[in-house]
């Protein structure tokens, strides 16, 4: 490692209240969100694959359900990205920065 760093009792840090809270905050967001977008993607793929009649229903002019749902995948991807960035900035970064400062300052 190029960064000189104090010896840490990693297991102790890992079991600590602040770290447990950081891990909880990360997992409580990313796991359900991953399940959600994968499920939504899978539903979309299966619809495109097996429900041609439904997907071919025209809504406005030549714009059909398939196109709207496809563009919906773009919209949901952009929306989840924005939500995660907001969440990380507010809930993850401050705690991670504090923990890191505590740990890197510990050996000085």
């Amino acid at each position: 490692m190029s960064t000189p760093e104090p010896h840490q009792d990693w297991a102790e840090v890992q079991a600590g209240a602040e770290f447990t809270e950081l891990r909880r905050r990360l997992r409580v967001f990313v796991f359900p969100m991953t399940a959600l977008f994968l499920l939504w993607y899978l539903v979309y793929v299966l619809l495109a694959d097996y429900a041609h009649g439904f997907m071919s229903t025209k809504l406005v002019g030549d714009i059909n359900v398939a196109l709207v749902l496809g563009l919906g995948q773009f919209a949901s991807t952009f929306a989840i990205t924005a939500l995660y960035v907001r969440y990380a900035n507010r809930k993850l970064d401050p705690l991670a920065t504090k923990l890191r400062a505590d740990l890197e300052g510990a050996g000085e």
Partner: protein
């Protein structure tokens, strides 16, 4: 339009070459300037970790948007309509896996390669050897697809139809790429990717606005015109199923492809390596955000360009042009802006191949030098970091030569299947191992080896015995790679639906069958991953 041996009608090879030569000249100057600060291993592999998130995001877009996604998807939409669009959705949604689960944690725990993360708490040598093997296999197939595509592009854009002439151009492309990588290292490669991404996205934006303007900025009118131009089967362009809806097997194949696309991206080693070029995990996150926006917007452009090519150029003209579907975007450029716009788009397509191939080469060579040479052969005891970088440079030349030869041999092959193979192998061999290693405390060396080698072997074996390799006649829409013999027994062209769950299962099985536990190392890895403690910092020059 009639089929012309000299390539696309209205094409001016001299103009195309001149614009491409200008791109090469400019990028070479940039690469030589970047090389002045390339001294250490961190400089060579990770550009001194000095790029900002936005810069890296643009470079990721440049690394990810290959000629296959530009020419291939626009062409697929022009000819197969909606089914072509489905590819781009898989390629885009996949980035959420990288954003939420992989990018930041990987940046905090690794230094240069995917092997750094996988081997963090495992026995170093076997896991690094596995990570390097899978990195090189994925990169090789991806590389082959790009180089084989170059041959088709040459025929299309420069009017060179003889195999010998195409081989010379493939060799020239390969040599320029080797110079970029050798001289500029990761920093030079990154700048090439940034310049290429800017040109590609600007060009696509200009064409998109142009196409939309022709239809009064009304998407429905554009779709209607594409339907009219498509004749009797035009209506089918708007609906899913034109390409994959034929039989139950092809429908299942599409699900399998969809899985590989969405899970493959976050396992592509050349994408993972880009996260080491920024100073912090926060910048890695910003990189992915920029990449998602740019890649998403670009795929929206290709939707317009694909239907635009169908409406303005017409599917018959595209089908009859040399290069078939791949010629949709160049033909559209020619129809809109004449030879100058065509020359620009042609040059951008070449620049795309160069930038992607350079990224793949530096990744594969870094993995060999850092994982195999420094850690497996020298057991982590490399006294002189210069020796490791020297090995990386030599490997880059070897890979470059292999890519040239492979590109010449594979010229004319079905490149879509090579790209799908790279994604399927990445999703099977790499992603399960990465996720287990980052999130599962119990995961151990045995599990990592089982999931990596199991995913690698199952995906490759299934592909070898799939209809993509043998069994489909030369007259089929996508003929098999090998003609005259039929040894296929796996019904699907894409192995993902079997090999990805199998690799996750093997990772679990291998883990519980071994008694090894590394709880302390996992504690260290998890704390580092989440907080960024002791993460590699930017190199100051």
């Amino acid at each position: 339009m009639t089929v012309r041996a000299a390539g696309v009608t209205g094409n001016s090879p001299a103009l195309n070459i001149a614009i491409f030569a200008a791109f090469v000249a400019i990028t070479l100057v940039v690469v030589f300037r970047a090389s002045r600060n390339t001294k250490t291993a961190a400089d060579y592999y990770a550009a001194g970790r000095s790029f900002t998130g936005p810069q890296n995001g643009v470079a990721i877009a440049g690394d990810y948007l290959s000629a296959a996604s530009f020419l291939g998807i626009a062409g697929a939409i022009a000819l197969n309509g909606y089914d072509g669009f489905l590819y781009s959705i898989g390629f885009l949604v996949a980035w959420l896996v990288a954003l939420l689960l992989v990018a930041e944690l990987l940046r905090n725990t690794g230094k240069y390669t995917m092997g750094d993360v996988l081997a963090f708490r495992m026995r170093q040598r076997p896991v690094r050897a596995a990570a390097a093997t899978s990195t090189m296999v994925v990169s090789f197939f991806y590389l082959l697809a790009q180089m084989a595509g170059a041959g088709g592009l040459v025929a299309l854009l420069l009017g060179i139809t003889t195999k010998t002439g195409q081989s010379v151009v493939i060799a020239v492309v390969g040599v320029i790429m080797i110079v970029y990588v050798l001289v500029g290292g990761m920093k030079g490669t990154t700048w090439v990717q940034i310049i290429k991404a800017a040109l590609l996205i600007t060009g696509a934006l200009a064409m998109t606005v142009w196409v939309l303007a022709k239809f009064g900025f009304n998407l429905s009118s554009l779709l209607g015109a594409a339907v009219d131009a498509g004749g009797a089967s035009g209506e089918a362009l708007l609906n899913p199923g034109k390409q994959y809806g034929g039989s139950e097997t092809s429908k299942l194949d599409f699900v399998s492809l969809g899985l590989a696309l969405v899970l493959g991206t976050a396992g592509l080693p050349h994408i993972l390596m880009r996260f080491y070029t920024v100073p912090t995990a926060r910048e890695a996150r910003r990189s992915v955000v920029w990449a998602i926006v740019l890649i998403g917007v670009f795929y929206l452009f290709t939707l317009v360009l694909g239907y635009g090519a169908g409406a303005i150029v017409g599917p018959d003209a595209i089908r009859n042009a040399p290069g078939k579907a791949n010629s949709a975007a160049p033909l559209l450029a020619e129809a809109l802006g004449g030879p100058v716009l065509l020359g620009f788009i042609a040059a951008v397509a070449f620049a795309t191949i160069l930038a992607v191939v350079a990224g793949l080469t530096i990744t594969a060579s870094a993995s060999f030098a850092h994982d195999i040479y420094a850690n497996v052969i020298k057991k982590g005891q490399v006294d002189d970091k210069d020796a490791e970088v020297r090995v990386a440079r030599i490997t880059a030349v070897v890979i470059g030569v292999v890519a040239i030869v492979g590109g010449i041999v594979a010229n004319g092959q079905n490149i879509a299947f090579l790209v799908a193979l790279a994604f399927a192998v990445a999703a099977s061999a790499n992603l399960p191992t990465i996720l287990f290693s980052l999130f599962w405390k119990r995961f151990n060396t045995s599990g990592a080896l089982w999931s990596t080698y199991g995913g690698l072997a199952s995906s490759i074996v299934l592909i070898v015995f799939s209809p993509a390799v043998s069994g489909k006649p030369a007259g089929a829409a996508t003929p098999s790679m090998v003609q005259g013999v039929d040894f296929h027994w796996f019904p699907l062209e894409n192995p993902g639906i079997v090999s990805i769950p199998l690799a996750f299962f093997l990772g679990w099985l291998g883990t519980v069958l071994s008694k090894e536990r590394q709880d302390d190392k996992y504690a260290e890895m998890e704390v580092r991953a989440l907080t960024g403690v002791g993460a590699e910092k930017a190199v100051a020059h």
